[in-house]
Structures are given as C-alpha cells and as structure tokens.
Amino acid sequence: MRNLKDVLAVVAIIVFTALMPRLFPADMHNVIFAVFIVLVVIFQMCSFSGRSKLSWKRFYTSSFNILTTKNTLKLDFEFDQKTLFEKAKEVLITNGYKNLIIDESRKLILVKERISFKSWGENIYVTILGKDNGNSELVYESVAFQIYTWGKNEDNGTKFLANMEESFII
C-alpha cells in the first residue's frame, strides 16, 4: 500500500461488501449491482470517446473523478519553455510512445496508451509551464482508467523524468 487513499479504498470495499447484506434487503442487491455496472460501463464509454481529446484533461485529472487513478510528477529545468517542449516530444518518441497528440499553443502533449489484455490503458499529459525567470517546469500527469493500479504508472513517470534528465547528455 502506497498511501492513505489506497488503504481507505480497500477498507471501504471490504466493509461495504461485508455490510451489504445487512444494509440492503436481499431483493435490492441485484439492483445495486446493476447500477454499479451501468455506472462503470457509462464511464468507460465516456473514456473511449474522450480519451483522445485534450479538452477532457480536466475531467480525467480532477480529484473528484474517483474512477481514475492519477499520478503527478513535477520537475524544474533550466531551459526555456520552447526548448523543453521540443525535448519532451523527442524523449517521448524515443521512449516508444507513438500516439502523441500535441497542442503547441498550450505546450501540452497527450500520449494515449492503448487498452490491452493487461490494462485499461492510460493517458499521459505532459505540460511545459514557463516561469518568470526564463526557466520552465515539466508537469507529468498520468491517468489510469481504473480505480486501483499496482504502481506501474508511477514507475513509468519516474522513468520518463529520468530519461528527460539523461537526454541532456548529448
């Protein structure tokens, strides 16, 4: 368990499952289960339609969206926004990411990882924020389309930032 949120989520699931027969009458169980399934299906359908759109970033990365797992990493660089943006694109391509959706004006890159047998896929948002002193900040946000992850997304983020640092050895 990596943080309090994970522990609370697991405890809540166990407690809810244990208490469900007492909380609700038996004929309600199927209804609750059906509502839950419908909500998950609606969410996944929305995910499929909005995953490629940069405008959906706020929805996926919102802390109120409990159906996605978010991971944010930030790192400062002594480079201007434009140079760092080009570098981030280069490193993402070198790392093997193929589906890059780029917004030059917002200095935002979306990487869409496809759904596979192993995972529901993830969206990676890389934003380059300019600072007053001419330097920039790289913000790496990954969104996994599942309630719980086993830490692979965090590892990917750490690896990406390490690769970014290493890419300055030319």
């Binding site: 140079t83 570098k87 280069e90 300055f168 050895i169 030319i170």
Partner: protein
Amino acid sequence: MAIKVNVDVMLAKRKMQLKELSALTGISNVNLSILKQGKGKAIRFTTLEAICKALDCQPGDILEWEGLS
C-alpha cells in the same frame, strides 16, 4: 560553466546553419541548440566526433576551458 561550447563560432566560420549541421550529423536541432547554449549536461564522444567531422575541425575548436580567466 567553465567549459565553453563554441559550436556557433565554428558554424559562422564554416558559414553553415544549425539545420545543415543537424542534417549532416544526425543530431537533432533541439540537441544542437542546447549544446550551443552551453546548457547540456555532458557531451558524448560520438557526438563530438560527428560535429568535428561535419565542421572539419578539432574537439578543441568546439570546447574551450575558460576557468582561470
């Protein structure tokens, strides 16, 4: 940094543009630009070799130590 990168000086001497150097060496434009600004963390021997070959110069023409001045 005490090591100064003189890629821009050599480019001017050879009347070459960064884009041309990039095409000749296979080093991306952004990487050459970082190198030119002297903001790279380190330089690989292979990179140095490629630049020297393209600009027909010695490593000393590209790198300069200005520590004691």
